[in-house]
Amino acid sequence: MTPDGDEADANTVSERTTERAPSDDPETRGRPTGSATMSTVTDTQPTATDPGRTTSGGTGERVFRGLTTGSGLVVVAAIALIGLFLVVQAVPSLLANNANFLTSPEFVTTDAANLRFGIRDLLVVTLLSSLMALVIAMPIGMGIALFLTQYTPPRLAQPFSYVIGLLAAVPSIVFGLWGILVLAPAIEPFAAFLQTYLGWFFLFAPGNLPVLTGTIFTGGIVLAIMILPIITATTREVFAQTPRFQVEAAQALGATRWEVIRMAVLPYGRSGFIAASMLGLGRALGETIAVLLVIRAATSPSTGSLFDGGYTFASLIASAASEFSQPLPTGAYISAGLVLFVLTFVVNAIARVVAGGKVNG
């Protein structure tokens, strides 16, 4: 608890209570000495008609406020501690690393005396799969949000959005299971088609896997399905907030439904949609078990194709979880986790800034 934060806090709270409760309670109880020093500095208001003042000094009040503030601080502390402990555990391994951490495609930690690990391929696979998911899910997510807010009658909108919400209720391990055992064989012909006719383009070129199931391509589709409800839910909320008068103004000018959307709904909801997509991206970057099950391990380095295999940050850590025994090799995986933490932190922070308070992620 920082002293200045608490002081500002106490000050504004008593002001707010004053506004809220302009009642008649005279100052019957003396204010405890504990808060006196603080209050004399910040409070200049007379206190005779201020119940917030008298109550804010009571023991119960102080204990309760302390508890709630403490709980809020738990969240702040959690983030700080996550960063701190990941760094603390990663640094020794990073110092012992014999390969370039940023540019090496290797991740060899079997010999603690000769660690060779780099995140190049992890980054490539993570970004390729997540961005592919985003490219698929963004237009569909926007379409669904429009469908639910602009096209469906209100009576049906509720059950329809419940259906989309069901997608969010499916645990990610089930998505992974379904993705590799059911979806991957089913879309293999499509993948083969893409490779045959668009193989000249680097994304569809033959990758480092002998098969076409369990590639980044499959993983991207599974991730797209998984982030769809996130993008939809947030975007729908923002679209539904479009000011009524803007919609009606467009209608009064004779706009068709699509023109109303283009002139009123989309401009209003654009930032919210982008923020929602960022939240989806954050989820895709950190998705662990679905990716681990769907994308096969590859023996050679990544070629930058969607038909590659390999590990993302998250799936690599999960795949090695049972071998976390020696500190230095474990630290190598923790350093990968640290990069993932920073990546998702940045993406989520951008989402929040873009949303500008319209979205509660």
Binding site: T12, G60, R65, I79, Q89, L166
Partner: protein
């Protein structure tokens, strides 16, 4: 007079409301088709997934043993035993996480709505957003780094519960916060007017009013964490027998059972267990979601 009775052959002036031009009509239709198609595209994988899980998992869950026995002493290729041990583990770990995350989350939400002003509150609110975006594997690694590497504890179900706290907190906080903001200020003011201190007002008036919504949020948080796989992979070993004690020894959970069977048991019995486990997990998660929506339906905040 007669001129007015004769219907005019054509209007003297162009009609005020002209028909929409064909190009605009086509665009509008096209948008309608595309938008409806987007919804259908999302429904296809959902139905496909649910149907495959149902068909492949249903034969497993109809046996009574499935719900009442563990896999202790069952060989990998035997169609026998059940997932009771995994259900127990999933629930125990979720309860541990709930015992910590629910009170802390509700209090933090109270702080954000009732007390929090200034920079500290802004920071807290920002960090809640960040925490909700922290990948579960990172939360698991953090608990591992802190409690296993540094403190030196053994891996256990309790540590899984701690990792789940980090995933549960933002869900509880955001949902509670939303409900607290819905509580009308008149209620608070009426209480202040009677000279009730603020903390008592919150405990006796504000929180009870928002109770149902808060419970809904808690249920949703439980539904979210029970399907998490990453923490159990990192923080606890798999056990084929029932273990009620989260502080000692390995403890199964449904995601861990699915993962273990998938990676170690290619037999038909293994396949059956995988899909049965997936179906059981979906059923449990949906049960919590259903409870959440029922609670919220029957007790919306009324003014």
């Amino acid at each position: 007079m007669s001129a007015a009775l004769d219907a005019p052959e054509r209007p003297a002036a162009p009609a005020t409301f002209r028909n929409v031009s064909t190009a605009r009509k086509i665009k509008d239709r096209l948008a309608t088709v595309l938008v409806s198609l987007a919804f259908l595209i999302a429904v296809i994988p959902l139905v496909w997934l649910l149907v495959s899980v149902l068909i492949k998992g249903f034969p497993a869950i109809v046996s009574a043993d499935w719900w009442t026995r563990s896999l202790s002493g069952v060989t990998p290729d035997e169609v026998r035993g059940g997932v009771y041990h995994a259900i127990v583990g999933t629930l125990v770990q979720a309860v541990i996480s709930g015992v910590i995350a629910v009170p802390v989350g509700i209090l933090a939400a109270v702080y954000l709505v009732e007390y929090g002003r200034g920079r500290l509150a802004k920071t807290t609110s920002f960090m809640v957003d960040i925490l909700s975006g922290v990948p579960s594997i990172v939360a698991a690694l953090f608990i591992f780094a802190l409690f296993v590497s540094i403190v030196g504890l053994e891996q256990s179900g309790f540590l899984v519960g701690l990792a789940l706290v980090l995933l549960m907190l933002p869900v509880v906080i955001r949902n509670t916060e939303e409900m607290l903001r819905l509580v009308p200020d008149e209620l608070r003011e009426a209480s202040y007017a009677l000279g009730i201190p603020k903390w008592k007002t919150i405990l006796r008036i504000v929180l009870p009013t928002a109770l149902s919504g808060t419970i809904t949020g808690v249920m949703l948080a439980f539904a979210r964490v029970m399907g998490e796989t990453a923490p159990v992979l990192v923080l606890v070993g798999y056990a084929r027998a029932i273990n009620f004690n989260p502080f000692e020894g390995n403890q199964a959970s449904l995601p861990l059972l699915i993962y273990t069977e998938l990676s170690t048991n290619p037999s038909a019995a293994g396949q059956l267990r995988i899909w049965g486990g997936a179906l059981t997990l979906i059923l449990i998660v949906m049960l919590f979601q259903l409870a959440a929506s029922l609670i919220s339906r029957y007790s919306a905040i009324s003014k």
